[in-house]
Symmetry: C2
Subunit: 310 residues, 2 copies
């Protein structure tokens, strides 16, 4: 089977978006974020999503021209109203704003309300880390998880990411969805006729299940049990409640054609220079990388990777 | 069995600390943080720790008088050198500084280097939330966890907490240690002769084990597998590398009598007023609380709690 090059895929996705009325630069940014997700192996956030983007652009649920309004600006903190523009374009604006303000004040925060799906959170925090800042990005998302003890979806996976510059131009990064597992993995087990761990999902009867068919009909459980529930709740507070966006069941997903998303994001950037010497900072991150990579291996492993290495 | 009242326990702990040379107000703060941890059921962070505090104060590893120095101050961001003072006293200073700066700039950040164990992270974020700010606190800690794929402890549990004001004076809060389980739970299973889930620990041979005796001899696994490893690594970057404190195996625990801890903390406060109307913010948190508390129950549950409710 022949495979498309990333360049060709980027060009294709860009042209699909510009044909829908998205400005060239914005289309190229969205295309790059989707192709990068595919390259990282996050196919669920990759070019597969393009038809849904187009449907939402055509319906007007997401606007082709992204023209955010500045609602607050204290210097280190900026709040943007995304006015239902494209999530990637708004998050790029949040990133550049937070980094710019962090360079001046040591810390920069950019909140975004009324945004849309932005792809993979790590795409944006890594960009900030490549520019020398430690970055945290949170978002809320449409309901995908029941609260701990419940059996009905009211909270999103609410992904978040932290990335930081390391030595030699490297970046250390984490990218978390707060569910135990992506829904696609339960479908995969179903197709293969394999059982699933009982920590992945409740069946429609509200009991933990090892049957993927039951799991598909029920709800996904949070990662790490009640901890993941509590984290995702607080990520909704940071991303939605604080920014003045929608929260909980008020957030709509990228697979819905007609509903404005109402999701919100919070971008935090910290400049290591404001904490003292950058060389010392890089030496400490190097120590962490060296220490995790030099431990004896657990059974079944060939290597230890630092977070964000692969 | 008679039980001590919290007031009596607080008074006892305070007098033990003042007898060691800790100023009255500082002693009362430490005592309150330890007793509160007991009241929350976090006995491992409660008054049981007092003898270790005293041993460290006596050895000089932790100073009785906590006199931090301000190393940087940009306005919204302050960096403190804790100079090996008491963790609780330094974290209270970080909290009041971050909240004060957030009220002026919308965001306030206080980093602390050369600190000590501060008790339960949520104790401090809840205080900031009660004063009206959304708060995030991270710390690093002495090695307790192997990196994912490894079998030797180099990273701490690196606890973190987020708390936020809710409606009617309530607070929503999460408090996370990044290990799958507290070490005490493995000891408990061992004493009861019960097996442990194979996601809790590796045995000394570097393979997952269900035998608590093997688990005690091996290493605790991260929560949520590789995710917890990545999170704890990045918490060390935020708390230690960024603040100019120690990282990885350079951090020493509260059970060591003679070694300076070298742990660091990062306190972030955000003022909802800087993002627009506080009434709208509280209404959105109320919506989240109401939504999670009104879902049908999973099997085996009598109630759904919002994070921080109990």
């Amino acid at each position: 089977m022949s495979r498309l090059s990333p360049e060709a895929l980027r060009g294709f996705a860009t042209s699909v978006l510009t044909a829908t009325g998205v400005p060239d630069d914005d289309a190229a940014l969205v295309a790059d974020s989707l192709v990068q997700a595919d390259l990282w192996g996050h196919q669920s956030h990759g070019v597969l999503r393009l038809p849904w983007y187009v449907a939402r652009l055509r319906s007007g649920a997401m606007t082709t021209r992204t023209e955010p309004a500045v609602l607050s600006d204290t210097g280190p903190l900026v709040l943007l109203d995304g006015r239902h523009g494209i999530g990637q374009v708004l998050t790029e604006r949040a990133r550049t704003t937070a980094v710019e303000r962090a360079r001046i004040h040591g810390v920069g925060v950019a909140g975004v309300r009324n945004s849309n799906h932005f792809g993979t959170a790590m795409y944006w925090t890594r960009r900030a880390a490549q520019e020398g800042c430690v970055a945290v990005l949170t978002t809320n998302a449409s309901p995908a998880m029941a609260p701990w003890g419940g059996r009905e979806k009211v909270l999103g996976t609410n992904p978040w990411s932290i990335a930081a510059p390391g030595p030699d131009g490297r970046v250390v990064a984490v990218d978390i969805a707060n569910t135990a597992v992506a829904r696609g993995k339960i479908y995969l087990a179903k197709n293969r006729g394999e059982p699933i761990p009982d920590t992945w999902a409740l069946g429609p009867d509200g009991a933990p299940t090892t049957d993927p068919t039951e799991g598909v009909l029920g709800v996904i459980l949070p990662m790490a049990g009640h901890k993941g529930y509590a984290i995702t709740f607080l990520m909704d507070v940071l991303s939605g409640a604080l920014t003045g966006s929608s929260v909980g069941t008020g957030v709509h997903g990228p697979y819905e054609t007609d509903a404005p998303s109402g999701c919100g994001h919070l971008f935090l950037a910290l400049d290591p220079d404001a904490f003292g010497d950058r060389a010392g900072y890089e030496a400490r991150v190097r120590q962490l990388i060296d220490e995790v990579k030099s431990v004896p291996l657990a059974q079944g492993f060939d290597d230890v990777f630092y977070p964000g290495e692969v």
